[in-house]
Structures are given as structure tokens and as C-alpha cells.
């Protein structure tokens, strides 16, 4: 392997002597800044949030429709109260006699 000239070696040797030990500790708050810039990988995007809202809205709507249909179905199949029949009959009877 090629070696450096003695003069160059000397220059590098002198240069090494100047290397002052710099702190290798992370500056205060460095880790926090990196993590803040990184953000959670699974952070919901606006599109994802809209999708979730739309999905929840759709589920709610379907549930409401089903509930409404059940209520209507129950109302449609339920027997009319007897009082309503009797009042209707008496109304018809009174009108027909007149």
C-alpha cells in the first residue's frame, strides 16, 4: 500500500495533535427535536381521518335506516288498538244514520 511522504506524515501528525476533544454528548433536547420531526409513523393523514369519519358516518346512517325500518315494520304489523276501531265505527254509524 502506498505510504505518505515523510513530510506529509509529519503534517498529519501535527494536525492530529490539534484535535481537541469535542463533546460527543447529544445537545440538550436534540433527541426530542429528532423525534418531533420524525413524528409517529402511523400518524393519521387527513385523507385517512376523512376516510374514518366517512366510514363512521356511513355506519351510523345504515344503523339509523335499519332502526327506522324496524320501527316502521313493527308499526305496520301491529294490530290497531281496539279503541281506535270502536271510535271509527261509532263515527261511521252516526254519520250513516244522518
Amino acid at each position: 500500500m502506498s505510504e505518505l511522504d515523510p513530510e506529509l506524515k509529519r503534517l498529519f501528525k501535527w494536525s492530529r495533535l490539534t484535535a481537541s476533544p469535542q463533546s460527543e454528548e447529544a445537545p440538550l433536547g436534540f433527541g426530542g427535536r429528532v423525534v418531533a420531526r420524525r413524528g409517529p409513523a402511523s400518524r393519521p393523514t387527513l385523507l385517512l381521518e376523512l376516510h374514518q369519519v366517512a366510514w363512521a358516518f356511513m355506519c351510523g346512517s345504515v344503523a339509523l335506516i335499519i332502526f327506522g325500518m324496524v320501527v316502521l315494520e313493527k308499526q305496520g304489523s301491529a294490530p290497531q288498538p281496539a279503541s281506535e276501531f270502536s271510535s271509527a265505527l261509532s263515527f261511521l254509524a252516526s254519520n250513516s244514520t244522518q
Partner: protein, 199 residues
């Protein structure tokens, strides 16, 4: 907390992958010395070391799912750091033209001192040492990004070829060949410098 990381990197990484912010912060602090050493040695001109270190950590987090523990985490991260620094150096605008006439009086006197016979026995003053450092930086600046990295690791940090291979991920053969060429270029630049100064 950092000792825990030493004990079980896999568990710690699993926590980071599950978005544990404290674990991520501790991971950054644990790896900071490894990254900042590489950044300081390969800092592009006008770049702030902290900005570059942040970019490296962000890249590390982005690639964390690719880490498969076939090598120590520090080695994996140091390779990311080396590649990121090399790309940053390559991306910067062309180096200003290297002009011998730009040597300061102090640098010129250092150049004369190191080329004088018997300089090995000399006791350089702090100013001369500083001048030597500036001269070395000037010479390294005249090399390409990879050559500069290699010379710095081999000649300044006095790392072995194996150690350079561990940090960079390059093969020993590649390092030897590259270092041979880098030293040749360095010697040529140094000869030009001496010639310009009439030494």
C-alpha cells in the same frame, strides 16, 4: 435507560417501532456519538453538523424496518451516516478552485517547517499545530468525497482497514485500492503546494 439498550437492542427497537417516543429519544442519544464523529469528519462546507445529524437520524428511523440485526446497530447506523455525508458532499456545489497563493503566512511557515530536515525533533507551537490542521483540511478539500473520507479515517483517525470497512461497509480490497489512489492524489497536491511555495 441507555444500559437497557446495551442489554437488549431488539426489545428496544421493538418499542421504537411501536412509536414509543421515549425509546426513540433514548435511541438517538445512544447513537449520537457514533453519528456525530462521522458527521464532524465529513461535514460539507457551510453545513451545520446538527442539521446533518438530524437528517441522518430521520433516515435511520425511516429505514428502521429494514434493519435485521445481522450486524450491530451502530455499524448499520454508521453506514447510513457515511453514505448521507458523502451524498451531501457530492451534492454541494463544486469546490472553490484550489489556489496555492491563498496560503496564509502561518500556513506557509508550517509548510516550510514540516519540510525542513530534522522537523521530527521539532516541538511545534500551538499556532503551528493549528496551521498544520488548516493545511491538512486544504489538502483534503482538494480530494473527492470518498478519498477525503478514507484519508481522514486512515491517516488522521488512524483506523485500521477493518475498522474502516466496518464503518463504511466497503470491502478491504476496495479500501486498499481506493486508499492507494487517494494517497497518490494527496501526494500530488502536496507536491504542487510545495512547488508553489518554492519548497
Amino acid at each position: 435507560m441507555l444500559r437497557d439498550l446495551d442489554l437488549n437492542v431488539a426489545d428496544w427497537l421493538a418499542r421504537v417501532r411501536k412509536q414509543d417516543q421515549d425509546a426513540a429519544r433514548s435511541l438517538v442519544e445512544y447513537l449520537y456519538p457514533t453519528v456525530i464523529r462521522i458527521v464532524r469528519a465529513n461535514l460539507p462546507r457551510r453545513a451545520a453538523e446538527e442539521d446533518l445529524a438530524q437528517e441522518i437520524f430521520l433516515k435511520m428511523f425511516a429505514k428502521l424496518d429494514q434493519y435485521e440485526a445481522v450486524m450491530p446497530l451502530e455499524h448499520w447506523v454508521s453506514r447510513i451516516a457515511v453514505n448521507h455525508c458523502l451524498n451531501a458532499i457530492r451534492a454541494q456545489k463544486a469546490r472553490p478552485e484550489w489556489r496555492m497563493a491563498d496560503l496564509s503566512e502561518e500556513q506557509a511557515s508550517v509548510l516550510e517547517a514540516v519540510t525542513t530536515d530534522g522537523a521530527d525533533d521539532a516541538h511545534p507551537s500551538p499556532t503551528q499545530l493549528l496551521g498544520a490542521r488548516e493545511l491538512v483540511e486544504l489538502l483534503l478539500d482538494a480530494l473527492g468525497a470518498e478519498d477525503r473520507l478514507l484519508i481522514r479515517m486512515l491517516e488522521l483517525d488512524e483506523l485500521s482497514i477493518d475498522e474502516v470497512g466496518t464503518i463504511t461497509g466497503w470491502s478491504a480490497t476496495y479500501i486498499r485500492v481506493r486508499a492507494f489512489r487517494a494517497r497518490r492524489k494527496l501526494k500530488k497536491k502536496f507536491a504542487e503546494l510545495r512547488k508553489a511555495e518554492g519548497l
